[in-house]
């Protein structure tokens, strides 16, 4: 097999632009130039962006401390998982690796790695060891085709000797690799997903790491709490909760780990959304009669309405790039459809043409919406909805999920490559993650019913 690899891109500003363009080409190639929207997403080499073949042998112990085994397992599993789900590398299967894996640079035998069976372009390797209660990890990223000067990355990390610390170091190292091989877009391994879970007996707001670890409860309202949305700076979380007065927007301080004050508006108040500058909120309120979209300052002051539709308006989300437009759901024409509107209330545009469309989420680059859509709707329809990707400028769309069940509430990752959503495909509502082309689909939650995920902004 004659495999030609492109030279590793130089990481300058030019490369950042190149990779941003690659991402756009990747996503742009999903939309054909004809007026018919594609139904299935083509994956694999047909998309024109070849992923780097990366080999990641298990890190080796650097000494014989008894704690090493457990920490190595935590580290290696996390590192592999982070890179496997990153969407920027193709991991070479461990079954192709030589028996002797390197733990230090002198141990690297280039010929073994850059030719069959592994046929890798890059190699990540290193060692881990506990000494005097501290954990030290050394990691390298090598271009195994460039035997003269292979080192792309060499890092050393030190922390307390716990599994959590080992996982965190793996995340940091994985992010370094993803940043370099993914063209300058920061990795998401340390990002968080906020969601609703009923496993405590009531629907409350929970948080977890992006890979599903460390799931923990944030609110203890003892009622029904929904629609968590974290602020751009990660300091606060807005959500909607059923209080004695009705449905109110509540504000939770993640720094202080408790509710902080926020005004009550009257009526039914739902689905808060942060502007990208963190200065304003959009929300749905029925204080004026029927549910419409309102904006207010982050303090709750200056509340004013921007839509005037007949049917219920709900679920706003801001354009993450410009902060100047808002997408939302309206039942104005009957079944709910997705619309966009300028933040000053002008130029309302309808984005979906039929069926039942809800839950828009705006991509970080400002170009795409994901939404939950039942395109063919009829009387008695059992309500199987799927996640769709829509190019805002052309309104052309691509269907991302196909395996049935109810799929709803998609949320973009800050890297613009991943989408988290809720799905009932396993039998009950759980939170799932996938790449923005519909691949690498995997389940994150397993206990109770888990819904309405919201990805942090960084």
């Amino acid at each position: 097999m004659n495999d030609t690899h492109r030279p590793v891109p130089h990481f300058t500003i030019g490369a950042r632009l190149l990779s941003a363009l690659s991402l756009l080409i990747l996503l742009g190639s999903l939309f054909p130039s004809t007026s018919f929207a594609q139904d299935w997403v083509r994956t694999g080499s047909g998309l024109g962006v070849e992923k780097v073949h990366l080999a990641v042998p298990d890190f080796k112990p650097s000494n014989s401390d008894p704690q090493n085994d457990a920490l190595l397992k935590a580290f290696n599993d996390t590192l592999w998982n982070d890179l496997d789900n990153s969407g920027v590398v193709e991991l070479v299967s461990k079954s192709f690796y030589p028996l002797q894996a390197p733990g230090q640079p002198p141990e690297v035998t280039f010929g073994v790695w850059n030719s069959p069976p592994p046929n890798a372009a890059m190699l990540a390797f290193g060692n881990l060891g506990v000494a005097a209660g501290k954990l030290t990890v050394q990691g390298w990223l090598y271009d195994v085709k460039n035997t003269a000067s292979p080192e792309v990355l060499g890092k050393q990390y030190t922390d307390v000797a716990t599994s959590d610390a080992a996982r965190l170091i793996a995340h940091k190292f994985a992010d370094e690799i993803i940043f370099r091989l993914g063209g300058g877009i920061p990795g998401i391994t340390e990002s968080k997903i906020y969601f609703v879970s009923d496993r405590s007996g009531n629907k409350e707001i929970w948080v977890m790491d992006y890979d599903g670890s460390n799931q923990r409860q944030l609110t203890h309202q003892g009622s029904v709490s929904l629609s968590p949305r974290v602020s751009p700076d990660g300091s606060r979380l807005a959500f909607s909760s059923l209080t004695k007065a009705g449905w109110d927007i509540l504000m939770f301080s993640l720094d202080l780990n408790r509710l902080v004050s926020f005004p009550r508006f009257g009526g039914t108040n739902l689905s808060p959304a942060w502007s990208p500058d963190g200065a304003r909120l959009a929300l749905s309120s029925s204080r004026g009669g029927n549910s419409q979209i309102y904006l207010c300052d982050v303090s709750g002051a200056n509340l004013h309405r921007i839509t005037s539709n007949k049917g219920p308006d709900v679920g706003p989300v801001w354009n993450r790039k410009t902060g100047a437009q808002i997408a939302f759901v309206s039942g104005d024409t009957g079944l709910p459809q997705v619309y966009t509107i300028e933040a000053d209330g002008t130029n309302q545009q309808r984005m979906t043409d039929q069926g039942y469309a809800v839950s828009p989420s705006w991509s970080p680059n400002g170009q795409f919406l994901t939404l939950a859509w039942i395109r063919k709707y009829g009387p008695g329809e059992p309500g199987s909805s799927d996640i769709y990707l829509m190019d805002i400028a052309s309104k052309q769309w691509v269907q991302l999920t196909h395996d049935g069940g109810r799929n709803d509430y998609p949320s973009w990752a800050p890297d613009g490559r991943h989408i988290v959503f809720q799905s009932s495909r396993s039998g009950k509502e759980e939170i799932w993650m996938m790449l923005a082309d519909g691949t690498k689909l995997h389940q994150l939650t397993f206990t109770g019913r888990n819904t309405q995920p919201n990805w942090s902004w960084k």
Partner: protein, 244 residues
Amino acid sequence: MKHQTWKALATVIALAGILMLGACHKKAAPPPPPPPPPSAAPTASISVSPDTIAQGQSATLTWQTSNATDVSIDGIGAVQPSGTQQVTPTDSITYHLVAKGSGGNQEASTRLTVTPPPGAEAAPPSSTEEDLFGHNVKDVYFDYDRYDIRSDQQASIQADMLFLNQHPNINFTVEGHCDSRGSTEYNLALGDQRASAVKSALTTAGINPNRIKTISYGKEKPFCLEESEGCWRQNRRGHFVYQK
């Protein structure tokens, strides 16, 4: 002489004809008489109107049979093949009819449900205002994705209004509910519009709006859990709750 001859000749010819015919007839053996046809099977049907009554009320039982010689109804006894009868049972009962004929048997039955007397008419001494409210104020049901009051729900609204006018000191909440399909957030907003529509219908007809609170539960607090048309229909409603 000629006339008499012709007459005699005609008679002879006629007689000969008859004889010949008779002879033809007599010559073929007569076919055996056909066996008697088998008896038709009896048919039977029975119905009662109305099919639900309050205790103390009467209903009319109606039945029809054919090809039956012996018809009886359990609890009543032998009856005419077809007829009607007024009945005043104290408990729910199934009327079972058996029709017998030479062609066989046929059965039919119908059920009459007897409910305890309505609270407003015969409230037991321990009945509270809240009980009265629960008995008399009917929930309002909606079509999928709709929040307008259906024409077939107007009767419920009218009945509710009547009771609420008769008890002006009662305050209450209208809860808006949706079926399990569709999005959590949209259903909360839709439930809100359903509750508002019911409140609006009542206040337009003169009920003081200060008596009415509204709240939406979307699909968060369903009345039934099955994924079926019947259950979905049950959940799409404005639900009245007495305010203590």
